[in-house]
């Protein structure tokens, strides 16, 4: 029999949000381990954040006159200045654009949930599908960067904070200073100039033309959309290496700034943690120094360090978009690049804004889950409050 977890003060509210009746409530409480409760709670709070931010976004839209708002709903072929005044009037009436804010927000949120995010004239496609089919490339870049920067950031922060003032510490602090003070677009220009123009070891863009032609000839099937994964699934190892060759520079550029930030925070945390009694006690028991760092101290600093990452999730996603654009990776940000090229395209921008908020919330959720998985204090604490 599992332990009964009944200490949830506002679980009534939680269950109401999940549309659960009293019977299923009881089942939920009996069966749910704390980790799952934590995840559901976090999902709920992410949803509340999404509602607030979409309300703010739509409040921004409401600042414009109804005639401008109608341009969010222009169907294909009626774009831009060609739309007649009578047609705009029809759009205003059918989409309730002259009603109070909350009513309009309700209709807009409904259209978001049903998947009709509008038609983008510059992309010449619906907004949501064009965002969705560009997502795997973005996720690929984000995944590799996070896999690189989180372990490296924690490790370097730990080592340098364990012996402050040592050689490693001084080296780390100088590197971290360089990493945080170098704007990503300048770093990427230098990288491209050195490793692509001069040495031709690495390359920008997603994949080169010869590989792409070969992929086309051999009937490359896109299972996931992420090239490194698809190439392995197709059994084409040369495509895999080509994709990696194109990914190294963006992953490095994206990682370096956040690696430095995470490392600095970890270092500051470990400086406090180093003198705690449990470390002294463990040392007195004869625990080896290496296992003191990698077992005792590492566990204690995971939560505060990753919390800092969670708070900077939005800046990670912004950096992701910037680097995609500079290196010409055709990810989600291609949508805004195209929409900002010539004539206005508000549906694409609005859809992109909502989509990127969802990406940030997703990233926050994943980081929170990792944190709770590794640190039992986090999940207990959240359940208590």
């Amino acid at each position: 029999m599992r332990q009964l977890y009944t200490v949830i003060p506002d679980w009534e509210e939680l269950c109401a949000a999940l549309f659960l009746n009293s019977w299923s409530k009881i089942i939920v409480i009996i069966l749910m381990p704390p980790f799952l409760q934590f995840l559901i709670r976090r999902l709920f709070s992410a949803f509340v954040s999404l509602v607030i931010i979409t309300m703010v976004l739509y409040a921004g839209v409401m600042l414009t006159p109804p005639e401008a708002r109608a341009r969010l709903y222009l169907p294909p072929g009626k774009g831009g200045d060609r739309a007649s005044e009578a047609f705009i009037g029809v759009l205003i009436r059918t989409h309730h654009l002259d009603e109070p804010y909350l009513v309009q927000y309700f209709y807009w949120a409904k259209s978001l949930l049903t998947g009709s995010w509008g038609y983008s004239p510059t992309l010449n496609a619906d907004v949501l599908p064009s965002l969705l089919h560009r997502t795997p490339a973005t996720l690929e870049l984000a995944l590799y960067s996070l896999l690189l920067l989180i372990p490296l950031g924690l490790a370097s922060g730990l080592i340098s904070g364990w012996r402050p003032g040592g050689i490693f510490d001084n080296g780390f602090r100088s590197l971290a200073f360089l990493g945080t003070s170098m704007p990503s677009f300048i770093l990427s220009m230098i990288l491209i100039a050195v490793f692509y123009i001069q040495l031709d070891w690495l390359a920008p863009g997603r994949i080169d033309v010869t590989t792409e032609l070969k992929m086309y000839r051999t009937g490359f099937v896109e299972y996931t959309g992420a090239l490194t994964l698809d190439s392995l699934l197709n059994g084409q190892i040369d495509v895999f290496f080509a994709a990696i060759r194109h990914l190294i520079m963006p992953v490095f550029t994206l990682s370096i700034y956040h690696w430095a930030t995470l490392g600095r925070i970890t270092r500051a945390t470990i400086l406090n943690e180093r003198g705690k009694e449990y470390i002294t006690a463990a040392r007195a028991r004869g625990v080896k120094e290496s296992s003191l760092i990698w077992k005792h101290a590492l566990r204690a600093i995971l939560a505060p360090s990753l919390t800092a990452m969670v708070l900077s999730a939005a800046s990670i996603v912004t950096g992701l978009f910037v680097i995609e654009i500079i290196f010409g990776l055709t990810g989600v940000s291609q949508v805004i690049v195209i929409s900002m090229n010539s004539s206005p395209d508000a549906p694409a921008a609005l859809g992109f804004a909502v989509y990127s908020v969802i990406m940030v919330l997703g990233l926050m959720f994943v980081l929170d889950a990792i944190q709770a998985l590794l640190d039992p204090r986090v999940r207990e604490e959240v359940l208590k409050t």
């Binding site: 954040s49 976004l57 414009t64 003032g165 003070s181 978009f321 805004i336 929409s339």
Partner: protein, 456 residues
């Protein structure tokens, strides 16, 4: 005064201040350093035929060379600093004012309002700046289009172009004047300031001076503006100082990737980028296209960050940004009065009061000054106390205790005199002060308690 001395004791702060001052001087004296001529548009000065698309190396006419279109790098560097400083300060001040007011109002009213407002701030934290920048520009664009204008993004490198077939309405003119990047950077950088001010206000809210202001009939607006905000903005100033640098870098980034914005430095880099990262280009071959502006951007960010770190340390010495090396502290070690800690037996363990000795066993004794050398004031204090001139004795002892001189001797004196005159609360108070300075708060409290029981 002490804070100022502390600030100037670190070479990092000197560098930060120097960089920021240099940029300010350059920004103010831009018309002297690089006077504009009749062809100059904004921060861009043409020094040749604009159809000439190759960058020219430095010569007499253009000190730092030109980029394609024969735009002078030096002129843009100087005038770009002016624009950047203006932009950064505007963003920082805007975010500072809004964030402070938001956080203070939420904290003052507390309860439901506080949690709602802070929830909104948290929601803003989940919004990527880039999406906001694009969204705001598109909103401006569709508003202008709905007024009958035709809006083009990025027709050339120099920002959006608006085409009206008739005289544009005043609101459209206003919209074209406003910089959407400025507004969106303000909208997406006030949250950390609001959060930190909020925490400060919540802790300050129940302090005596706020209660007094409320009892005197101060209105909430007056209390927030006159009492709470001035006491809570310290850490927020640090964040605002860092915002100056980061917002200028963000603006340059947005301009460089072609999503709007009018950063002169960013425009210059994006005009010249093909000569650095295009075919046939190179970092060293066309260095003047790339290097001066890059260094300016990096230094701008670094300067304001260093300044922010320095301010943070002055305001909160516990936040040691550099790991504890300070010119000031090194000088202190060499000082006359602080000789090497003398290895004298700890008097409290051998003190005539066995209870006190027993109680303090095991606690780490770290008096600031273990100097064997006696301070001249100590003798004065002892003389005064021997004459039962308590007023002067207390004055002298307090001075010594405050400056942490000869704490061991003073403690022993106090213990002796407490035996001699057990009914004098002043002695017990002084003993409490000594113990407080030594960090033994428990015993200090007992001493104070004894003094209180004697007075009542």
């Amino acid at each position: 005064m002490r804070a100022v001395r502390f600030f100037f004791s670190r070479w990092q702060n000197w560098i930060g201040l120097l960089i920021v001052l240099t940029f300010t001087v350059v920004a103010i004296s831009a018309p002297l350093l690089s006077p504009p001529d009749k062809d100059t548009q904004g921060s861009f000065k043409k020094v040749g035929r604009s159809t000439d698309r190759t960058p020219h190396p430095p010569d007499e006419i253009s000190i730092l060379g030109t980029v394609p279109g024969q735009i002078d790098v030096y002129h843009t560097l100087i005038w770009g600093a002016r624009e950047a400083l203006q932009f950064g300060l505007l963003v920082a001040i805007g975010a500072f004012v809004f964030g402070t007011l938001f956080g203070a109002i939420a904290g003052y009213f507390g309860g439901f309002i506080n949690s709602l407002m802070m929830r909104i701030a948290d929601a803003f934290l989940t919004f990527p700046v880039l999406a906001g920048v694009v969204f705001l520009q598109q909103l401006v664009a569709i508003t202008i289009e709905s007024m009958g204008g035709i809006y083009w993004f990025n027709l050339y490198y120099f920002g959006p172009v608006v085409d009206f077939q008739f005289t544009p309405p005043p609101f459209a003119v206003f919209l074209m004047k406003v910089d959407p990047i400025l507004i969106s950077l303000i909208i997406f950088s006030w949250m950390p300031i609001a959060r930190i001010v909020n925490t400060m206000v919540i802790t300050l809210k129940n302090a005596d001076f706020i209660q007094a202001a409320r009892a005197l009939g101060g209105s909430p607006a007056r209390i927030i503006l006159r009492h709470l905000i001035p006491n809570a903005v310290g850490p927020a100033i640090v964040l605002a100082a860092r915002d100056v640098g980061s917002s200028v870098i963000m603006q340059a980034t947005i301009t460089f990737i072609g999503l709007g914005g009018a950063s002169a430095w960013g425009i210059l880099l994006s005009i010249g980028r093909n000569w650095v990262i295009g075919p046939g280009g190179g970092l060293l071959r066309y260095w003047w296209v790339f290097l001066p502006v890059t260094i300016a951007i990096i230094l701008f960010g670094v300067g304001w960050n260093l300044l922010g770190d320095g301010l943070l340390e002055v305001l909160d010495p516990a936040a040691n940004a550099y790991g504890g090396k300070s010119l000031f502290r090194q000088k202190q070690k060499k000082g006359k009065n602080d000789a090497q800690p003398a290895k004298i037996p700890d008097p409290i363990r051998h003190s005539p009061n066995p209870d006190l000795a027993l109680k303090t066993r095991g606690t780490l004794l770290t008096p600031m000054s273990n100097s064997a050398e006696k301070h001249p004031v100590l003798q004065t204090a002892r003389d005064a106390l021997a004459k039962k001139d308590f007023e002067h004795a207390v004055h002298a002892y307090s001075h010594l205790i405050k400056h942490r001189r000869n704490l061991n001797e003073i403690r022993q004196d106090m213990i002796d005199y407490a035996r001699q005159f057990p009914n004098q609360p002043i002695i017990w108070n002084l003993l409490g002060d000594v113990l407080t300075q030594e960090g033994k708060h428990e015993y200090a409290e007992k001493a104070y308690e004894h003094a209180r029981s004697l007075t009542s």
